[in-house]
């Protein structure tokens, strides 16, 4: 693998951001997505749980978290595709002293909708939300979610008690969904002043009450911006869809070989199309050692395995909750990264796949974008 210090995308390029447990990599290709240039490792030796691209208002800004084993978690950005990164003197995202909490990880960095080009969000561990109204220059703590009466009963999953999913609603800037493991899905309809759990119909198989008001171990939620009331969800056990912005959920496993998995991705142009990477429950690897992405084109009523281009030999791979993502080009590119340090990509919506990166540390997140 030949790597560079930074990549040089052009207008219309595809960008794939790869976070690993020991640094980050940035991949760039022209719209054909046949050949990729790779830069990195950025933040070598540090855990990178979250990355994001902000292309609003003419920006070309990449965001990344970094967690040093001893020296804590920081938020960085680059305006030149990784040639230089910010290295803030003071941690930009930090808990107020009155909370008694200290930041462990930044699990999610999310840009606000196009209508609010200065809005940014960070979801963190321990589970809490931060927001910025100046495109990430300064950050503030969302107190109302932290004060939610459910919070003392949220419990950490295997990865810690984290707020890992943030979904903005392009049709309603006051509405935001977040997901917490384990807490479930929460929604605000007033710009973060108040929050309601939105878990009706979502199972929590590990609880005495299998359908509690909250406490579900939601692994990932995704939506297509053109149909914001429709949500797809990979649960710790079960695939679900909501057609009413989370007011209720319907199971949509419908033939996927395992209802366990971590990621969920939605096609950026077709709201009925979604992708999952099912995992065998005990080993938490691809079932039978066969790499398979499953795609639905009818909102989860049926799923088809996608495997053309994957290796024939056994591949016991794991894809974590942020390890599967799409770009926004046409045809759409689909990408996933594994704990085995490989990134596979499809430049035709999942019909065929190729290995585009290998030999990197265990992958925690993959985020794709069009420049």
């Amino acid at each position: 693998m030949e790597t560079k210090t930074f990549v040089s995308p052009k207008e219309g390029s595809a960008l794939v951001l790869v976070g690993t447990i020991k640094g980050a990599f940035v991949l760039n290709s022209d719209a054909s997505r046949e050949r990729w240039e790779v830069s990195g490792p950025h933040f070598p030796g540090r855990v990178v749980y979250s990355m994001a691209y902000d292309g609003r208002s003419g920006r070309q800004r990449i965001w990344s978290s970094s967690t040093h084993f001893a020296f804590g978690t920081l938020l960085h950005s680059t305006e030149d595709f990784g040639r230089t990164w910010t290295n803030p003197e003071s941690a930009p995202v930090k808990f107020p002293e009155a909370t008694g909490q200290s930041l462990k990880q930044i699990w999610q960095i999310a840009a606000g909708s196009d209508q609010e080009p200065g809005k940014m969000y960070c979801g963190v561990e321990p589970a809490a939300l931060f927001e910025s109204n100046d495109a990430g220059q300064t950050w503030s703590f969302v107190q109302a979610l932290f004060d939610h009466p459910h919070r003392p009963q949220w419990q950490p999953g295997g990865g810690g008690l984290c707020l890992h999913t943030i979904l903005v609603d392009p049709s309603n800037t006051k509405r935001l969904h977040v997901a917490i493991s384990t807490g479930g899905v929460y929604r605000t309809d007033d710009g973060g002043k108040s929050w309601q759990s939105r878990n009706q119909g979502l199972s929590a198989e590990f609880m005495p009450d299998k359908y509690p008001e909250f406490g579900q171990c939601v692994h990932k939620v995704a939506r297509n911006p053109s149909r914001p009331e429709r949500l797809f969800l990979q649960n710790h056990g079960g695939l679900f869809r909501s057609d009413n912005a989370g007011d209720s959920w319907t199971e949509i496993v419908n033939g996927v070989p395992s209802d366990f998995g971590f990621p969920m991705a939605v096609h950026p142009h077709h709201p009925d199309t979604a992708y999952v990477f099912p995992l065998e429950r005990e080993m938490r690897c691809s079932p039978d050692g066969k790499l398979r992405v499953y795609r639905t084109r009818d909102a989860g009523n049926s799923w088809q395995p996608l495997s053309k281009g994957f290796p024939d030999e056994p591949a016991y791979e794991t894809v974590l909750r942020d390890g599967l993502n799409t770009d926004t080009l046409k045809p759409t590119g689909i990408y996933f990264g594994t704990r085995g340090g490989k990134v596979y990509g499809s430049r035709n919506e999942g019909e065929t796949w190729s290995l585009i990166l290998q030999g990197v540390p265990a992958i925690t997140c993959v985020k794709a974008a069009a420049v």
Partner: protein, 97 residues
């Protein structure tokens, strides 16, 4: 009161590349506390603070601070007595793989 701080490699980008820095801490006594001398270090090199202590003011779990040759956790924590000419050594734990 002059205090010498030894800075670990990953943090030297915040001390202009220096492995050893001397801070003259203004204290009206023969000795001060570790809290006071660290405040002097944060003031001169502000990039160090959030990397060594959390937002709650606690020393990060995997950071050790030695006052001369004693771990601060064994000699009073932030209230540990620090005299003129003392050395403060900041050491990240070494583990992992």
């Amino acid at each position: 009161m002059a205090i010498i701080f030894y800075i670990p490699g990953p943090l030297r980008e915040h001390t202009d590349g220096r492995s050893q820095v001397e801070i003259d801490v203004e204290i009206d006594a023969d000795s001060g506390t570790l809290r006071e001398v660290l405040a002097g270090l944060w003031q001169k090199y502000p990039g160090l603070r959030d990397r060594i202590v959390t937002e709650q003011g606690d020393v990060r779990q995997h950071v050790n601070i030695f006052v001369n040759e004693e771990n601060m956790r064994d000699c009073g924590g932030f209230a540990a007595t620090v005299g003129h000419g003392a050395t403060i050594t900041i050491v990240p734990a070494v583990s992992g793989g």
